[in-house]
Amino acid sequence: MPQLDAKGRHTVAFTLNGRETTVEVETRTLLTDALRHGLGATGTHVGCEHGVCGACTVSIDGVPARACLTLAVGVEGCAVRTVEGLAPEPGRLGVLQAAFRRRHALQCGFCTAGILMSLDAYLVLRPNPSRREITEVIGGHLCRCTGYAPIIEAALEAAAELRGDIPAPSSPEAAHA
């Protein structure tokens, strides 16, 4: 990585959800701010700016990362994925997203993007996770609305559907007692 001038502005080139993009930032600009205010990708949220809450979690080269603890200049040449890249096409939800909706796994939705990004990466790594493992992954995020239980259910259900163990649930209320 080239040495950067602390006072100057820099053009960072990377792919965002598969599309080549550039953004002009200062060296100190956080990736959250570059995504949100530089590129208008406001789906990634800022909850604490000290790496605890997980709302800002994005995927950098396939690995989940806290965008609030990442300098934007650090993603030069990387493949960055955000919540905006999860849906298969505009207006449709992916399997994990649909499971969240079915299970009422979100209320205000502010923390949700980060949780989706962590789970999306984890389910690739571990297609057959135990409840314990899913709980640990979600344990890296703070949600103040749901009490977490429906998030865990949604993640397990999505994992099963992604593995092909269960068909895509059709009834919107099937999930709820």
Binding site: R28, C48, H104
Partner: protein, 991 residues
């Protein structure tokens, strides 16, 4: 005319909000674009709990390129006035400090710049001179006659002292064979939504009007407070809310003072200004729930039947009384007897101000502070009499045939069957099984306890309850206040599609979904054809003072008024259709998108066509109907009357019921609570959306678990704020929240249009004390206060009395008392230079400059006073400070006392050290030192856990460098522990 039986209401349909939120397409306040030229604000805040502001030097900050302006409290004085509290008291009620700060985090100056980064740079360059005053932190100490006073205009820290008497409590106590009291210190906590506050404001000087976008949640009575503070009439304050909110739990009521600050700043700078709060600001200075000291006494008979209660509540509202406070203290006034039929009640309510963050709405609002003592007391009564707590609770419940039931203090409980709820909870929750598990665990020597809690959950607040704080005479003078207007507007557009607009300002609960369900059912439409908007614009939408998202009012009041509006619209549409179909309106049925004869379904019209009639063919509309295009309904329940002359107040419209059962075990060694089972029985009337009700219960339970076990907004004795990060203020994560068994019975409310009651706050009221009761049962305790931290429980399990945890998280030597945050240390080094040389070095600014860690130069102010600019780091928080050191008690060349203060943007500190120089017998000197220091401000809030180590590193660094300059090899002789040496090296301080 009829409606089809509901096809959506009562079902857990998927939420209409979710697709956007799951796709990153939510529109929260920081996601919305701003006008070109919008500037960004950062707020400089007080590092002190209590101090006079002697001066604010903004010149350097102003000169920073990119900074447009620096605005101080004095600048804002010209365009703002105070925030009126609910209680007239001579308190300084500004949203920003002018000449005095009264809590850590109080705004002192606002830097406005091209971007947020530059605005924060500007904050670092402002120099504020403070003169620190003693801080008042404890509410009972604040009452003492010799206490430091926060607001001299009041003359005392107690701003309200009211006594109430219902029935004949004195006689009941005199006649009673038993009485018992509990004293509870309820701590501070907060809802801590994941999204922080935000405000975007502009000012139009041509008509003296403000446009403010804020993620404010209501109540919109506060609109009047904000308009007044900005010195404009209400119609010149256009307050708008964003379409989505990242949670609130009451807390976003507290954005109001910032709406004033940012709007007034926009006026001063002549450009729109945007401010988004950061997490440290939020935790330290948004709002907190009140902490309260309560002594509750009960008179009871041999069966445990309670005949009288005597409440003494001391409510701590922090540094300023902000509207609607002291509402936390009065929200539950009608409910002071909980779920019990107790007719005699005495109450003393005092409100005190202390040097802490002003309080405001937090989920549960006043409930946890009341139920904690009340339900602790019920358990204590049972134990005292050797009775089963379940039996004692059940015996005291309001009889099922007594509803609607008027409580002693004036609430009108709408409906319920508490005995049935209790019995079903015990049966389906397996209370007997838990008792067997407890027996088995105890037989093995394990610490297992069971807690029970009965609570009445009030919802839909009477806007007049807060006036109970006034005397009857004061109320008569001010005019009666009462009611709770809710409103909904339904609009038909030219193609007959339906839009619903409400002033409920949802904070993530899913209001738009439920309203679509309700209206679709009434109009016989598919839900997708009803679109709901819930972002509010006070300039264009229908609203009133009770509008907003609080007091669990949505299901009962807002969904109810939407039902009323839809019904009224339907009845008018029926008349249009009837005229065209030649049928009677009452014979029409709205179903499947059609309006048709219930006898002959072929005789009908598409809904859309009838709905569009008033747009396209007003001539077809019966003349007396007018335009059937838009229907706005306001509804206020008649039951919500003003307090009467005897201070009876029906503080809320609906009263749900909760009965919680908890079985838990405490790890004897770690003190960790392992919840074996938690059962929560709810009666919230008619359930409109089971999935959302479950979400509210689970979410409330998780927050209550946090409040009970992990979370506390903690303060040191000096008022320093100590929990400014999520590593200090611990929210429960998925790994801490146990499974929850939720049960329901349904007693529909006769007072609400849909029979629904609120459900969102109940567990925040019942769960903390239920857990505490279980812990008390497990450990055999009489008294236990929150939070139930592992450290506290481990000490109790070990047989000790409840010991307050050392503040500042881990003092090397245990603090002598709670809240004492003094850092103490000592050390020594041997150097080759003789004492005289070392002495001379200590008085030489050049030497000092080279040995003070992070020094950028030392100035000698006098023979014994030095000033230094230093950069110090505590963990990740590195900042520049001004240090002043004074030498005293000089005993040349043997000993000297150094007294120092350090001040900077990140905090401040002060300390004293005694340095002694002794000849070591070999021509060198043995330098020994002892010190005491205390640190406050941002550093204390975010770095409490690191502070002691960091102070050691810095102080150790000074002596190491001094020793090196004096010819010593400090590395060997300083005898620093290896771990500390490694830490020093990591921090760049060579040891």
């Amino acid at each position: 005319m009829g409606i089809v039986s509901s096809s959506y209401v009562g079902r857990s349909v998927e939420r209409v909000e979710d697709a956007a939120l799951l796709s990153g397409l939510g529109r929260y306040i920081d996601d919305l674009g701003t006008r070109p030229g919008t500037l960004h604000a950062a707020i400089l805040r007080s590092p002190h709990a209590h101090a006079d502001i002697l001066g604010i030097d903004v010149q350097v900050a102003k000169a920073l390129p990119g900074v447009t302006a620096v605005v101080t409290g004095r600048d804002l004085d010209a365009v703002t006035t105070g925030l009126v509290p609910a209680l007239r008291a001579a308190v300084d009620a500004r949203a920003i400090a002018v000449d005095r700060v009264r809590y850590v985090g109080e705004p002192v100056a606002i830097v406005v710049a091209r971007d947020r980064y530059l605005a924060e740079d500007g904050c670092d360059l402002i120099e504020v001179q403070y003169r620190v005053r003693p801080a008042v932190v404890d509410p009972l100490s604040a009452l003492a006659p010799d206490s430091e006073i926060l607001h001299e205009g009041v003359g005392a820290n107690c701003v309200s002292d009211r006594r109430f008497r219902y029935g004949d409590p004195e006689a009941a106590f005199a006649d009673s064979p038993h009485s018992l009291s509990v004293t509870v210190r309820y701590p501070r906590n907060t809802g801590s939504p994941m999204e922080t506050y935000g405000v975007v404001a502009s000012y139009d000087p041509t008509d003296d009007s403000y446009d403010v976008l804020a993620n404010f949640q209501g109540p919109f009575s506060i609109h009047a407070v904000v308009a007044r503070a900005l010195k404009v009439p209400g119609n010149r304050l256009r307050l708008r809310t964003p379409p989505d909110s990242g949670g609130s739990f009451g807390v976003k009521q507290g954005v109001a003072p910032y709406a004033v600050l940012i709007a007034a700043t926009a006026r001063l700078v002549g450009q729109p200004v945007k401010w988004i709060e950061d997490r440290l600001e939020h935790l330290s200075a948004s709002v907190s729930a009140t902490n309260r000291v309560t002594t509750l006494r009960a008179a009871f008979d041999a069966d445990g039947r309670v005949t009288a209660l005597d409440w003494d509540q001391v409510e701590d509202c922090g540094a300023y009384l902000r509207a609607p406070e002291p509402a936390t203290l009065y929200r539950m006034h009608g409910n002071l007897t909980g779920a019990y039929a107790i007719r005699n009640v005495a109450v003393r309510n005092r409100v005190v101000l202390t040097n802490k963050t002003p309080t405001g709405l937090v989920r549960g609002f006043g409930g946890p502070q009341v139920y904690y003592p009340l339900e602790r007391l019920m358990q204590r009564i049972a134990l005292t009499l050797g009775l089963d707590p379940f039996a004692v609770i059940r015996r005291n419940l309001i009889p099922a045939d007594a509803f609607p039931y008027r409580t002693a203090t004036g609430a009108l409980y709408d409906s319920g069957d508490y005995q049935r709820a209790l019995d079903e909870a015990a049966r389906d929750g397996g209370l007997d099984e838990l008792k067997r598990r407890r027996d088995a665990a105890r037989a093995e020597g394990r610490l297992y306890g069971i807690g029970l809690t009965a609570a009445v959950e009030p919802s839909v607040s009477n806007m007049g309850y807060i006036t109970t704080v006034l005397t009857a005479e004061e109320r008569a003078k001010a005019g009666p206040k009462n009611g709770a207007q809710s409103t909904a507007t339904i609009t038909l557009d030219p193609v007959g599609s339906v839009t619903v607009q409400v002033a409920s300002v949802p904070q993530g609960q899913g209001h738009r979904t439920v309203l679509a369900q309700v209206v679709a059912d009434v109009l016989g439409l598919p839900m997708e054809q009803v679109r709901v908007t819930a972002d509010l614009d006070t300039a264009k939408d229908a609203w009133s003072i009770a509008s907003g998202n609080y007091a669990s009012r949505f299901a009962a009041a807002v969904a109810g008024v939407a039902h009323l509006a839809a019904t009224r619209l339907r009845d008018r549409l029926a008349r249009i259709a009837a005229a065209q179909l030649n049928l009677r309106p009452e014979d029409l049925l709205f179903a499947g998108g059609r309006i048709a004869s219930r006898l002959n379904p072929d005789a009908g019209l598409p809904f859309a066509r009838v709905a569009a009639t008033s747009h396209w063919s007003p001539g077809l509309v019966p003349e007396d109907l007018g335009a059937v295009i838009r229907e706005t309904v306001f509804w206020t329940p008649p039951e919500l009357t003003a307090p009467d002359a005897e201070d009876h107040i029906n503080s809320s419209l609906c009263h749900g019921f909760i009965f919680d059962i908890c079985g838990l075990e405490i790890d004897r060694v770690t003190g960790k609570i392992i919840i074996d089972r938690y059962v929560s029985m709810h009666d919230c009337g008619r359930i409109l959306h089971p999935g959302m009700v479950e979400g509210q219960v689970r979410g409330g339970f998780a927050q209550a678990l946090g409040a009970a076990v992990f979370e506390e907004l903690s303060y040191g004795d000096d008022g320093a704020f100590l929990s400014g990060t999520f590593a200090d203020y611990l929210l429960p994560t998925a790994t801490e929240v146990p499974d929850l068994r939720i049960l329901h019975v349904e007693s529909p409310s006769p007072f609400t249009p849909l029979g629904a009651k609120g459900v969102g706050e109940g567990n925040c009221m019942s769960t903390p004390v239920c857990l505490a009761n279980a812990v008390a049962d497990a450990l055999g305790l009489e008294a236990i206060d929150l939070p139930l931290t592992p450290a506290k429980l481990a000490a109790l399990a070990a047989g000790g009395e409840e010991r307050a945890p050392p503040a500042g998280h881990s003092a090397p030597k245990p603090a002598t008392k709670a809240g004492d945050r003094t850092l103490r240390g000592e050390g020594s080094a041997t150097v080759t230079a003789p004492p005289e040389t070392v002495w001379a070095m200590l008085l030489d600014p050049d030497v000092l400059a080279s040995v003070i860690p992070g020094s950028h130069g030392v100035r000698k102010l006098s023979g014994t006073r030095f000033q230094a600019d230093v950069t110090l780091g505590v963990g990740p928080v590195k900042g520049r400070y001004k240090a002043e050191v004074t030498l005293s008690d000089l005993d040349e060349p043997r000993a000297v006392t150094l007294t120092g203060t350090v001040t900077g943007g990140l905090g401040s500190g002060g300390g004293t050290g005694r340095l002694t120089l002794e000849p070591d017998g070999a021509g060198g000197t043995r330098i020994a030192y002892v010190y005491e220091a205390a640190v406050g401000g941002k550093v204390a809030a975010v770095g409490g856990r690191l502070l002691d180590g960091a102070a050691r590193v810095i102080i150790g660094g000074f002596f190491t460098a001094l020793a090196r300059r004096a010819g010593g090899s400090g590395e060997r002789r300083l005898r620093l522990p290896a771990a500390l040496r490694r830490l020093l090296a990591r921090l760049g301080v060579s040891a």
